[in-house]
Structures are given as structure tokens and as C-alpha cells.
Amino acid sequence: MTSRTAAGAPRSVVGAHGLQLRLPQRWEARLYLRDEPAEEGESLNPVVHLANFALPPGRGDFGSGAVEVMGPGQAFIALLEYEAAEAGTPLFAARGVPRPRVADFAPNALQRRLPGQLGVQRFFTENGRAFCLYVVLGSREHATGLVGEVCGVLEHLEVGRR
């Protein structure tokens, strides 16, 4: 046997730019600032990608590059921040991090339509910050369990001040 450190305890906390996530088993995360502002003159806002599968490098903000390799029993979450000035405007009128239900998911909500996949997109304001939540499920067959997992992840999302 080796003299390695004893336990491979899960590394499950990711935090930066006023966002903190505690991840459940199997879920991993990547958090970055956009390379370019969404619109001219805007600041560089953070994007979080979460998945219960291995996130590949080189993904688009809405998960292109990742959703193509998803299996039917897997899910992908993208959380994108927009300009603080947008917070509370009609598009971002909803307050608090949404908890999507199975009935909310549909193929026509996908940014990129792929066979079997379902998606949902919600805009909201939390702690004075404007966000878009975009979730993709691998299949309708596994939707109930996956939505439960997604809500479990969102449960542990903390939005503070930047």
C-alpha cells in the first residue's frame, strides 16, 4: 500500500465573484468571467456551469459543447449574470433563485435542440443582481429524478454582493 493521504473527500465548494455553491455528490462546476461583454459597454459578468457529468473544455456560455456529450440520465445548468442595472426590470422581475418543475421543461426551450433533451430558461433577480438560469435535462424518462437533483444544487447557491 502507499502512504497517500487517506481520504478522497469530495471537493464541493466553489466560490468567486459573489457566488458560492456547495455541490452534491457527482456534480461539478466551472465558474468564469465572460471573455467579452454580452453587449457593448457592459462589464464582464460571471457564468457558472454545473453538471452531473464531466464538463468538457471550450463550452459556450449556454453549454454548447457540453450538452452534445450529455447522456439521458444527466443534467446541465448554466447561470449567467447580466448587468446590475437590469435587476428588477420586467424581464428580471422574478425574485429569488427559481426552482423549476418537471412540467416547465420542454424541447422548444433549448438553445440548441438535440434529440430527447428538454430545457427551461428563467430570468430572475437575487440580492440586487440580474441572472438567467438555463437548465437542460438529458431525457424525459429521467426528468423527475434530474429535476430533483437540479433543485438540490440550486438550494445551495448563495448569491452575495460582488
Partner: protein, 242 residues
């Protein structure tokens, strides 16, 4: 005549002393070199020898537990990559910007098809954190599309003795299945294929086949690997009879 004999005797004595001194110094040098590198490496960990081609009994941990990898990419992305308790296996390739052998690995990683992985295996290249590495040098060396994570913690967790170093982790069990080093990606792939019985390290992801066919092929591959027969070995094709 007597004087000549005396002079020769004195010269012989001086030469004897000189040779004895040289031999003693040589012995000291050898002893010190041996202390630095005993050759048999009795204190080494299992990864420092070639992975054994024989299968381990189910459930027996040979290399110990793996760890998730947290760090930062060259783009500044904060990463928490799951390695333990997941469906996929992970090949961790520990490289640095300064080691001469690593250069060949960085170059090979940029060549299409230079690295083959068993189906469902993810490759993570792990360099040390920005405090121990040159981010600019790594950015210049890392090919596009390769997932490079800067994590000194991962180097500590896996007790990486130096670079290049490779670790193959079974995601479902969270155990390390094989590890070692080599001069090239191809050499490392051959060691891993022998050590783990995963011929996918040499041939890439297998095509979709029935479970029965796949099991049979895996079994045959394991036996061939155990016998030291790799893909392309002339013994696989028999002799030409004309």
C-alpha cells in the same frame, strides 16, 4: 646500480600509495552515488515500477484512493472537477512547463489522435498552481482543446513525485487503477494498457457492440496484454506461408 634499485623502489612505493588513494576515492564516490540512488529503489511506491499486467482481485486497492481536482484553468475558470464517485474514469496527466520530458507530451497532445482513451474516460492535464508555475509558459505550450487545470493541491493529494506523471482513476470506486511515468504518451499508454487491461489506451474508444461481444473482446485483450502482445504485434497475424 644500488642507487637505481633504490630510486625504483621509492617510485614503486609512491605509485602504490597513489593507486591506493585513487581506488579509495573511487569507492567513496560510488558509495555516495549509491546513497543517492540505490538502483533497486526499495523505498519506492508501487507506481514507480511498471504496472503489473496481472489483474487484481476485485475490491483490492493497489494504489489507494483518488481525489477530486479543484483549481483554475489557464483562462481563469474556477474548476471543481469530479474524479471520485462518478460514472466516468479519469486520466490525470501531471505536466509542467519546465521539464524537458514534458515538452514531448505537450507537443503530442496537440496532434490529432496522439492520445487514445478507453470509452468514457476523461483527460485532465494538471499543472501546479500559478504560485509554482509560469502561467504564460503553460499557455504557450498547452494545445487548444486540452483541459489544463492549475492545482498544486492536486499534486500534493496525489503525491506526484515529478513530471511527467500519469494517474488513472476508476470513477465508480474512487480508486487509482494505475500510475507511472514515461518518455512519451505512447509509452505511458502501453504501460497503462498492460497495468489495467484497458486496451482502449492503445486503440481509443471501442465501437458500439453488443455487451456479449464487448465482454469477449475485453477478455481476449486482457489475455493478450498479459502475454505482452500489443496491437500491431506481428504474432497476431501469423507467418506468411507462400
Amino acid at each position: 646500480m644500488t642507487v637505481l634499485v633504490l630510486v625504483e623502489t621509492v617510485l614503486l612505493a609512491v605509485l602504490t600509495v597513489l593507486v591506493a588513494g585513487l581506488l579509495r576515492a573511487y569507492g567513496t564516490v560510488l558509495r555516495r552515488l549509491h546513497a543517492l540512488d540505490p538502483g533497486t529503489r526499495q523505498d519506492s511506491r508501487p507506481f514507480e515500477v511498471l504496472p503489473t499486467p496481472t489483474a487484481r482481485p476485485a475490491g483490492e486497492a493497489e494504489f489507494g484512493p483518488a481525489h477530486d481536482v479543484t483549481g483554475e484553468t489557464l483562462r481563469g475558470e474556477i474548476v471543481s472537477a469530479r474524479v471520485v464517485g462518478v460514472e466516468h474514469n479519469t486520466l490525470l496527466l501531471f505536466l509542467s512547463s519546465g521539464c524537458a520530458t514534458c515538452e514531448a507530451f505537450w507537443t503530442d497532445l496537440g496532434k490529432p489522435g496522439a492520445i487514445q482513451l478507453p470509452a468514457g474516460t476523461r483527460l485532465l492535464v494538471v499543472a501546479q498552481g500559478a504560485e509554482d508555475e509560469s502561467r504564460a509558459d503553460l499557455a504557450a505550450m498547452a494545445p487548444d482543446g486540452v483541459d489544463v487545470i492549475l492545482s498544486s493541491r492536486a499534486w500534493r493529494d496525489y503525491e506526484v513525485p515529478g513530471s511527467p506523471h500519469v494517474v488513472y482513476v476508476d470513477g465508480a470506486t474512487g480508486q487509482i487503477r494505475g500510475e507511472g511515468t514515461g518518455q512519451s504518451l505512447r509509452q505511458v499508454a502501453e504501460l497503462l494498457a498492460r497495468g489495467t487491461g484497458e486496451v482502449g489506451f492503445l486503440t481509443g474508444a471501442p465501437a458500439r457492440k453488443s455487451a456479449r461481444d464487448r465482454e469477449q473482446e475485453v477478455s481476449v485483450d486482457r489475455e493478450l496484454l498479459a502475454a505482452g502482445i500489443l496491437p500491431g504485434d506481428p504474432r497476431l497475424y501469423g507467418s506468411d506461408e507462400r
